[in-house]
C-alpha cells in the first residue's frame, strides 16, 4: 500500500506543474539588540506552491503568515532555512522581474497621482516610455480609476488606494502575484471584484499566493491553503478535501418517492449506517479554522508535515 502511494506521488510530481514558491525548513527568529531571542515568528516551514495555483496562507494575527510573505519577498532574512521563488533565493532582486506584490496596506507615495505612481513603478521594470504609457492606461482602466487618474493619492479613499495598489502589483504582468490581505478595507462589492480578479489571474495561468484571515474569501478563491498558528504549519491541503466531512456521506438526488427514500434508509441501516438527513450540510472553512486553533491550544506540540493532509 505504502509503495503504491509512493509510486503514485512520483507519477503525480512528474505531471505536476513547476514549483513557483518553495520554502525549506524556513525559520525566523526575531532578536533584540543584544541578540537575545524575542519571538520565534516562524518555525521550520515547508511549503510548495505550484504554477497556476491560488494558494492561501491562513492564520490569526501573529501566526507568521506576514513573516512568511516578507521572507519570500526578501524583506526579511531567514534565521535558517531557505525561501525560493522561481528557484532563486528570495534575496535575489532579479526574481522581482516576474513578481507582483500588493502589501497589506497600499504603501504608496501619497504625493504622486495615479498616473505618476504607475509610471514610476513601470520605470522600475525598465519599461520604455511607450510600453509604460500603454500599461498605465490599461491598468487604470482595469481598476476603474480613470476618473481620478490625475489626483494625488493622499486624496484617495481606502478602496481607491487599494485599487491603485493592485494596479502597481500588476504593472509588469507578473507570473506570480503575492497578495497580503487583499480584501481588507474593501466593501462587499470591492471584495467581490477582487475575488473575481484573483480568479481571472488564475485563468490567465498566473500563480497567486495570498494571505488572509477573512476565511470566506479564502474559501471562495483558493485551490490550496496552509494554516499557520504561532509560527507553525498546522494544516495544508486542497480546500475542497480539507473541508470534506469524511464520515458523512452526502447524496443529492431528485425524483425519489417517499418509498424509495425509505428503501434507501433501510438499506443504510442494514449496512450499519444511520441516516442523519437527506441533505448533509458542508462545514465551512471558518469551522475548520477555529477547530484547528482550539486544537492547537489544547495540544501545542502537534504539527503538520509539509504535505497535504490526505483525503
Amino acid at each position: 500500500m505504502a509503495t503504491s502511494t509512493l509510486e503514485s506521488t512520483t507519477a503525480d510530481e512528474q505531471s505536476l506543474p513547476e514549483v513557483v514558491v518553495e520554502t525549506r525548513n524556513l525559520t525566523k527568529i526575531y532578536r533584540d539588540f543584544w541578540g537575545r531571542q524575542k519571538v520565534r515568528a516562524l518555525n521550520a516551514l515547508d511549503l510548495e506552491v505550484r504554477k497556476g495555483e491560488v494558494f492561501g496562507l491562513l492564520g490569526p494575527n501573529g501566526s507568521g503568515k506576514s513573516t512568511t510573505i516578507k521572507l519570500l519577498l526578501g524583506l526579511l532574512f531567514p534565521t535558517s532555512g531557505e525561501a525560493l521563488i522561481f528557484g532563486q533565493p528570495s534575496t535575489d532582486v532579479s526574481k522581482n522581474e516576474r513578481l507582483g506584490f500588493l502589501p497589506e496596506e497600499s504603501y504608496l507615495y501619497k504625493f504622486l497621482n495615479a498616473e505618476e505612481t504607475l509610471d514610476f513603478y513601470g520605470r522600475l521594470f525598465d519599461m520604455d516610455s511607450f510600453t509604460r504609457k500603454g500599461r498605465v492606461d490599461e491598468l487604470i482602466e482595469l481598476v476603474g480609476l480613470n476618473w481620478a487618474r490625475r489626483r494625488q493619492l493622499k486624496e484617495y479613499s481606502k478602496g481607491m488606494t487599494r485599487r491603485i495598489g493592485l494596479a502597481q502589483a500588476l504593472i509588469n504582468d507578473p507570473e506570480l502575484v503575492v497578495l497580503d490581505e487583499p480584501t481588507t478595507g474593501l466593501d462587499p462589492i470591492g471584495t467581490r471584484e477582487m475575488k473575481d480578479l484573483i480568479l481571472k489571474l488564475k485563468d490567465e495561468g498566473k500563480t497567486v499566493l495570498m494571505c488572509s484571515h477573512l476565511l470566506a474569501d479564502v474559501q471562495d478563491v483558493c485551490d490550496r491553503i496552509a494554516i499557520l498558528y504561532e509560527g507553525e504549519l498546522k494544516e495544508m491541503g486542497r480546500v475542497d478535501s480539507l473541508l470534506k466531512v469524511k464520515d458523512v456521506t452526502q447524496m443529492r438526488a431528485t425524483g425519489l418517492t417517499e418509498e424509495a427514500q425509505n428503501e434507501i434508509r433501510a438499506l443504510v441501516e442494514k449496512h450499519g449506517g444511520k441516516v442523519l438527513g437527506m441533505e448533509n450540510p458542508k462545514s465551512t472553512l471558518e469551522e475548520l479554522f477555529l477547530n484547528i486553533v482550539a486544537d492547537s491550544e489544547a495540544r501545542p506540540g502537534r504539527r503538520a508535515r509539509g504535505q497535504d493532509t490526505q483525503n
Partner: protein, 605 residues
C-alpha cells in the same frame, strides 16, 4: 590675497590623491569585509559567515552590472517630486528674504563693498544649500522605511545601487534648481548693490597744473565716496580708484555749456588672472637668504627686506610670452610696510622695481613706486624699456625679447628708505594676465557650492541607509564639522594646539584650568587621561581625514572658492578640476557604502 601654499598643479596633485584614494579604498574594503564577516559570524557562525560575505560581494557586483539608467531616473524623479511637493522651494523664499533684508545691514561705506556683497551672498548661499542638502537627504529613506513605502519599491527589480544613486541624483537635481535660482538672484543683487553713478562737480574742475593741457576735478559724493578726476585735453578722462573701482569720464562742449558724463563703475566686479612667480630673498648683504627678515610678527607668512641695503625680494617668472601680455607687462603688488620710525605717515615708503634677465644679467632701470601698507598698486611696464648690463650703457630694449630668457624673468623689489622694511610673500606680486568674465567666475563659485551640496547629499543618503532620520542628520552634520576642523584636529593631535584631547578638555573646563598649564590632578589620573586622549584623538584624526573639508582655505584642501571671487580673482580651472574629482571620489565612496548598508538591512525588521 593670502595663499599660504601654492595651488598644486593638477597633474602633480592627481597621482598623490589617486594613490591615497586607492589605498583608502582598499583599507575600507578590507575593514568593511572584516566587520561584515564579524557580524555575520555572530549571527550565523564563523563557517557560514564566509559564504554570506562572499555572496554579498558577488551579488553587489552582479547588481552593479545590471544597473539601469531608466530605474535610476525613476528613483531620481521620485526624490525630486518628493522634495518639490514637500515645499523645499521655501528655502529659496528664505534666501530671497535674506537678500531683501541684507541691504539694511551690509556696510556699503566699506573700502571694498563688492567684496562684502560677494562674500555675503556666497556664504549665505553656501550655508543654506548645505543645510538644505542635509535635510533633504537624511529624512527621505528613513521615512520610506517607516511608512513602508519602500516595500513596493524593493519588491520591484530595483537594485540597491539604483536606490542610493537615484536618491543622490534626485536631491542633487532639486539642489541644482534652487542653486541656479539663487545664483541668478544673487548675481542681480551684487551687480545692483555695487552699481552707482556720479556726476562731475562742475565747480571743482580746473585746468591741470602739470602743464598737460587737461583738467582736474572731483565727482559728486555718491554711495559714500567721491573720486578725483583727470581729464585729458581730448576730453576723455578717468577717475582715481576708490572702493576698488574707477569710472570713465567724458567731457563734451556744446558751445554754451561744458557737460561731463561719468560712466558706470569699472573694476569692482572682476576676475583677475594672476600669474604667480617664485619668491626668494636676498639678505642685507645681497647674498641669498633662506627667508626674509622676521620683524617680530607671529605670522611668518611674509618675509621682510631692509630698506637702504642690498636686501631684496626676487620673484622669478617662467614661461612668459608677449602673446599673453599684448599691452605691456601689468604688475600688481601689495607690499607690506614695517616702519621702525614713523616718518611721514601719509606718503608711503619708496621702493624700486627692477626687471632682470636671469641669464644675461641685463637689467632695467630702477622703476620707483610708493608702498602704503595694505594697498595694492598696479604698474604696467611698457614693452620698450631702458636697460643695461651691470656697468654697461643704458639702451632701449624689448621686454620680452631681451629681458626675458626663454620666458624667464626676474623682478626685484627693494626698499629705498633706510631703516624701513618691506614685507613680501609669494602672492604679493603677480603679473596680471587678461581678465576673465566676472559672471563666469561667479558661476564657477556657485559650481563649487554645487559640488559641496552633492557631497553633503551623498553623505546624508549614505547615513540614512542605516540610521534613522535624526541620527543620520547628526552624523552628516558631524562629518562636515569634523572635515571643517580637520586641520585643528591635527594640531590638537600633534600638540600644536594647546588644551589636550576630549577628556583633558572636559577636566579643564570643569576645573577652569588654564590651557597651557600642566593638568593639576594626581599623576596616575593624568597618565590615564592622556592615554585615553591619545587613542581618542588618533581615531578622531583618522575619521576627520576621511571627511570632506569645506573650509574657506584652499591650502587646507577645503572645497570653497568664496575668497577667490570676493577678492576679484579668477578661480583657477586647475583647482576646479581638483574639486570635481574629489567630489566624484566622495560620491563613489558613499554610494558603495550606502549600497552595502542597504543590502545588509532587513527592510521589514
Amino acid at each position: 590675497m593670502v595663499l599660504e601654499h601654492p595651488i598644486q598643479p593638477f597633474l602633480e596633485w592627481l597621482p598623490i590623491q589617486l594613490l591615497t584614494f586607492l589605498l583608502l579604498a582598499v583599507c575600507l574594503v578590507v575593514a568593511g569585509t572584516f566587520v561584515g564577516y564579524l557580524i555575520a559570524s555572530v549571527r550565523h557562525g564563523p563557517a557560514h559567515a564566509f559564504g554570506i560575505v562572499g555572496s554579498t560581494l558577488a551579488v553587489g557586483y552582479r547588481d552593479l552590472r545590471s544597473i539601469s539608467s531608466r530605474r535610476i531616473l525613476g528613483m531620481a524623479g521620485l526624490a525630486f517630486r518628493e522634495a518639490i511637493r514637500r515645499y523645499v522651494l521655501v528655502v529659496f523664499a528664505v534666501f530671497v528674504v535674506i537678500l531683501l533684508f541684507a541691504g539694511w545691514y551690509l556696510d556699503t561705506s566699506s573700502d571694498d563693498p563688492a567684496k562684502l556683497y560677494l562674500s555675503f551672498v556666497l556664504k549665505a548661499t553656501n550655508f543654506l544649500v548645505v543645510l538644505l542638502a542635509i535635510f533633504l537627504s537624511v529624512f527621505s529613506l528613513p521615512a520610506d522605511l517607516r511608512n513602508r513605502t519602500i516595500y513596493t519599491v524593493v519588491t520591484k527589480p530595483v537594485r540597491g545601487w539604483e536606490i542610493v544613486i537615484g536618491r543622490i541624483a534626485g536631491f542633487g537635481a532639486v539642489g541644482t534648481v534652487i542653486l541656479a535660482l539663487m545664483c541668478l538672484f544673487s548675481y542681480v543683487f551684487v551687480v545692483r548693490g555695487v552699481s552707482h553713478r556720479h556726476q562731475v562737480d562742475a565747480d571743482s574742475v580746473e585746468i591741470a597744473t602739470d602743464g598737460s593741457g587737461g583738467w582736474r576735478g572731483q565727482t559728486t559724493r555718491d554711495s559714500f565716496h567721491r573720486h578725483e578726476i583727470t581729464i585729458n585735453p581730448d576730453g576723455n578722462g578717468v577717475t582715481d580708484s576708490r572702493m576698488g573701482h574707477r569710472h570713465k569720464v567724458a567731457q563734451s562742449d556744446d558751445g554754451d555749456e561744458v557737460k561731463y558724463r561719468v560712466g558706470p563703475a569699472v573694476g569692482s566686479l572682476q576676475a583677475r588672472v594672476p600669474v604667480y612667480g617664485e619668491l626668494r630673498f636676498l639678505g642685507r648683504d645681497g647674498k641669498p637668504a633662506d627667508k626674509g627678515i622676521n620683524v617680530g610678527k607671529e605670522w611668518t607668512y611674509r618675509g621682510y627686506v631692509e630698506g637702504g641695503s642690498l636686501g631684496a625680494g626676487v620673484w622669478r617668472f617662467d614661461g612668459l610670452n608677449a602673446r599673453d601680455f599684448p599691452g605691456g607687462l601689468p604688475i600688481e603688488l601689495s607690499i607690506r610696510v614695517f616702519r621702525t620710525y614713523k616718518g611721514e605717515i601719509e606718503s608711503g615708503i619708496l621702493g624700486t622695481i627692477v626687471l632682470k634677465n636671469p641669464q644675461s644679467g641685463l637689467q632695467s632701470e630702477d622703476i620707483p613706486f610708493t608702498a602704503t601698507d595694505n594697498f595694492a598698486d598696479e604698474i604696467t611696464i611698457d614693452r620698450r624699456i631702458t636697460a643695461a648690463k651691470p656697468g654697461g650703457q643704458y639702451r632701449e630694449v624689448d621686454l620680452f625679447e631681451d629681458l626675458t630668457d626663454n620666458g624667464s624673468l626676474e623682478i626685484w623689489i627693494s626698499c629705498a628708505e633706510r631703516a624701513q622694511y618691506f614685507g613680501m610673500a609669494r602672492t604679493d606680486l603677480y603679473l596680471r594676465a587678461a581678465d576673465r568674465l566676472f559672471g563666469f567666475n561667479f558661476v564657477k563659485s556657485y559650481f563649487t557650492i554645487w559640488l559641496q551640496m552633492l557631497v553633503v547629499t551623498g553623505f546624508g543618503v549614505m547615513f540614512s541607509t542605516f540610521l534613522n532620520g535624526a541620527v543620520a542628520m547628526l552624523a552628516t552634520l558631524g562629518s562636515i564639522i569634523m572635515g571643517y576642523f580637520s586641520q585643528w584636529i591635527v594640531d590638537v593631535f600633534t600638540g600644536a594646539a594647546e588644551g589636550g584631547g576630549p577628556s583633558e578638555s572636559v577636566i579643564r573646563i570643569v576645573t577652569q584650568d588654564n590651557l597651557v598649564t600642566p593638568l593639576d590632578i594626581n599623576p596616575v589620573t593624568t597618565a590615564a587621561v592622556k592615554a585615553f586622549d591619545v587613542v581618542a584623538m588618533a581615531i578622531i584624526r583618522g575619521v576627520s581625514f576621511l571627511m570632506p573639508n569645506f573650509r574657506d582655505f584652499s591650502e587646507f584642501g577645503g572645497m570653497n572658492t568664496t575668497r577667490f571671487v570676493a577678492n576679484g580673482f579668477d578661480i583657477p580651472m586647475n583647482l576646479m578640476s581638483q574639486y570635481m574629482l574629489t567630489t566624484f571620489a566622495y560620491l563613489l565612496a558613499v554610494t558603495c557604502l550606502g549600497y552595502f548598508f542597504l543590502k545588509s538591512k532587513e527592510i521589514a525588521a
